[in-house]
Symmetry: C2
Subunit: 195 residues, 2 copies
């Protein structure tokens, strides 16, 4: 056998990325073999190399796509008025965006060390852009006197770390609705940076 019936790069390509995403998130990049990914797709390992030059690029592609989506989704938010409203919007956006993509988020935070140095630098720069965005809000709020944080850089990282924590426990259909989670976290974030 060779080319199979119904085979098409528009179909196989996404399926490979999807399978890789799922398996990387589940077992970790290093613990997943190309043959496992191929098996999940229902294809031989060799076929993967029509879609990625190597395993590393497969990982990098997933992480890069995720960060791109994050930044463009954030950029597409409607403008709101004042640091307090901006922070509230950020909290809601962050929680929802990340809860919708648990596997991508997991990989983006856990597999950084498995990137080559060049690839790591690119992903890190994108993440930094996102963080700077939040820090800008906090700084503006401090300047206007509506926030009081001893150090905006640290507060930025603290808020993001706190929000990322949601992904470790939230399960849709659980005790709390998304709206409730958003409210609870907004309450804590708001108070943490309040004057």
């Amino acid at each position: 056998m060779a080319r199979t019936q119904g085979s098409h790069s528009d179909i196989t390509g996404p399926r490979i990325r999807k399978a890789a995403l799922k398996l990387f998130a589940q077992h970790g990049y290093a613990a997943v073999s190309m043959r496992q990914i191929a098996g999940e797709v229902g294809v031989q390992a060799g076929a993967l190399y029509n879609y990625t030059p190597d395993k590393q690029s497969l990982l990098f592609g997933l992480m890069h796509a995720h960060m791109d989506e994050l930044l463009s989704a954030r950029a597409a938010l409607p403008p709101v008025d004042g640091p307090l409203e901006e922070l509230k919007q950020f909290v809601g956006f962050h929680i929802r965006f990340h809860l919708e993509r648990p596997d991508e988020v997991f990989i983006a935070y856990m597999e950084l060390r498995n990137l080559t140095p060049e690839n790591f630098a690119m992903i890190e720069a994108l993440r930094r852009t996102y963080e700077d965005d939040l820090e800008g809000i906090l700084r503006e709020g401090v300047a206007q006197g509506v926030f009081a944080v001893p150090d905006t850089k640290i507060a930025t990282l603290a808020v993001i770390a706190m929000l990322n924590g949601v992904n470790t426990w939230y399960r849709s259909g659980g005790r709390l609705s998304l709206d409730e989670v958003e409210t609870i976290y907004w309450d804590m974030v708001r108070k943490a940076v309040a004057r």
Copy 2:
């Protein structure tokens, strides 16, 4: 050659655990081979099996020892008066304990998925004990009316996530001293749970 000069289990054992800890933290459990660990110690791979039945037990042993230390160090803290003081003590303890053991902490949070189900359950139970400790403080504070959080369980996880974030950026000798870090985080935590 066979047994080497100066070889002693009291020396080799700790060196193996230390090497495994460092390498697991650096590259991840799955990405590190027994030969790499042996190489770091200056020994052949076969020698490792005098100290661990297998690779999995090596990982589990490191995580288990870490959690044990965490819980006993926490239990050894002097008693303080009232939820506010208890929370402050917890924040300071958590930050310092974790900053002193970056590799152990990293592994304990990143390699959970590489544990067998039984081992995972044991580590998870220990972590749960620690979390429950903090939740007890928050609940007591809410009962006494000194804290106001919508949900003590979530607040617990949020606080711990926030505090864990310190390990991702703090470098000793950097811009901030340990005391300053402690003060900054205590300020944010205190306000986040305040009424």
